[in-house]
C-alpha cells in the first residue's frame, strides 16, 4: 500500500514523475494521487508535453564529434609543468640528501633572504660611508680597509710604521678609522704612502665634522 501524499507535495514532484527519477515509494504515492486528482492529471499532461517538446527541439541536431586535440594539448602542458616541478624537487632532494635537510636548507635560505631584505631596507639616515664624519671629533682621519688576511700584529706594525693610531674599528664591514700620531704630519702624504703598502686595500681621508 503506497504512502498517501498531500496535493501540494504531489504537484511539486510531478516534473520528476515525468522524467522517471522519483524513488519507487515516492512514485507510487504521487502516481496514486495523480490518478485521483483532476488538477494533477492535467498538470501531468502539460509537463509531459513540455518534456516532449524539449526533447523534439534538439532531436536530429548535429553536434560536432568529440575533438580532443585542444584538451590533450592542455593536459600535455599541465603534465610538463608537473614534471618540471617534480624534477626540481628531486634535484633539490638529491642535492640536500633528505627532506629534513632540504627543509633546513630552505629555512636557512629564507633567513638569508630576510636578512638581505632587512639590510636593504635599512633607513637611509643610518647609512654611513667611509667618508661620513658625523661620529668623529674634529680633526683629520683616515678610513682604511686592510686585507682580511692580515692579523692584528701585522696591522699594528703597519700603523706604527706610518705614524697612525687606531681611533675606531674595525666596523662590521672591516673599516678602520685611524688618526695621525703627529698632528703636524701631512695627511695627504701619509694617505698616499699607505695606499701603496702591502696588505692595504683602501684608504680614504676623512675630516671630523667640527674641524674648520
Amino acid at each position: 500500500m503506497p504512502d498517501t501524499i498531500r496535493h501540494d507535495d504531489a504537484i511539486e514532484l510531478l516534473p520528476w514523475l515525468v522524467n522517471g527519477t522519483l524513488e519507487p515509494r515516492e512514485y507510487e504515492a504521487v502516481d496514486l494521487h495523480a490518478k485521483n486528482c483532476v488538477i494533477c492529471r492535467r498538470e501531468l499532461d502539460r509537463l509531459g508535453a513540455l518534456a516532449t517538446a524539449l526533447a523534439d527541439e534538439t532531436q536530429g541536431e548535429l553536434l560536432p564529434a568529440p575533438d580532443m586535440r585542444n584538451i590533450n594539448a592542455r593536459i600535455d602542458a599541465d603534465l610538463a609543468r608537473s614534471r618540471r616541478g617534480a624534477e626540481l624537487l628531486d634535484r633539490l632532494l638529491d642535492w640536500s640528501g633528505n627532506r629534513w635537510r632540504l627543509a633546513f636548507v630552505l629555512q636557512a635560505a629564507g633567513v638569508m633572504a630576510l636578512a638581505v631584505v632587512l639590510w636593504r631596507v635599512e633607513p637611509e639616515s643610518e647609512f654611513t660611508t667611509l667618508t661620513t664624519p658625523e661620529s668623529l671629533p674634529s680633526g683629520d682621519y683616515l678610513r682604511v680597509v686592510f686585507d682580511p688576511g692580515l692579523d692584528g700584529a701585522a696591522i699594528s706594525a703597519l700603523l706604527e710604521a706610518y705614524g697612525l693610531v687606531l681611533v675606531s674599528g674595525p666596523s662590521e664591514r672591516g673599516v678602520y678609522t685611524l688618526g695621525l700620531q703627529d698632528a703636524s704630519a701631512e695627511r695627504a702624504d701619509v694617505s698616499a704612502s699607505l695606499e701603496g703598502a702591502p696588505g692595504v686595500l683602501f684608504v680614504q681621508p676623512v675630516t671630523g665634522k667640527d674641524s674648520p
Partner: protein, 197 residues
Amino acid sequence: MRPDSSRKVDARATAGRERDLLARVRRRDREAFTELYRLYQPRLLAYLRRVLASFALADEIVDDVLFVVWKDAKKFRGDSAVSSWIFGIAYRKTMTAIRTESRYQAPLDRSMDTALLPATTSGDHDFVRAGLAELSADHRQVIELTYFCGFSYAEIAEIADCPVNTVKTRMFHARRRLRHVLPVLAGEKPEKGRDHA
C-alpha cells in the same frame, strides 16, 4: 514515468564504471580520461548549448569543464554520482559566464547556427523557446537539468549545490512562468481562470 528497475540496475553499473574511470584519472591515466571525455563531451555539449546563448562559448566551456575533471579528479569525494559532480562543474561555469556577461544567457538564438538544425522547425519549438526565454538562469537550469538531462531533484540539488527544497521552489516558479506555454503545448484550448502550477 514509472521507475524502471532494469534502468536502475543499468544506472548503478554505469555509476560504478564512471567511478572506476575517475579513480584512474586521479592516477593520471590518459586512457581512462579519454573514455570519460567521450562519455561526457556530447552530454555536456548538448546541455551547455541549450543554456548558453553562444555555441562557441558552450564548446569552450565543455573543454574547460573536462580539464577541471582531469586536474581535480582527486577532489571528487565520492559522496555523489560522478555525473552530478561533472555537471556541477559545468553548472558553476555556466552560471559564472551568465553572471559575468548576461548576453550569454539562453535563449539560444539558433538562427545563428542553422546548419546544425534539423531541416524543419515546428511552431511548437518557437513557442517553447519563447517561453524558456522568460525564465531566469536559475529557473531555466532546473527545467533543462530535469527534462533535458533527466536528473532527479536530489541530483539537481547536488549539481546546483543547494537544498532540495530550493530545487523544488525554482521548479515551481519556472512552471508558473511557463503557465501560458504549457496548456498550449498540451493541446488545451485557452481558458480563463486560475492556474495551479
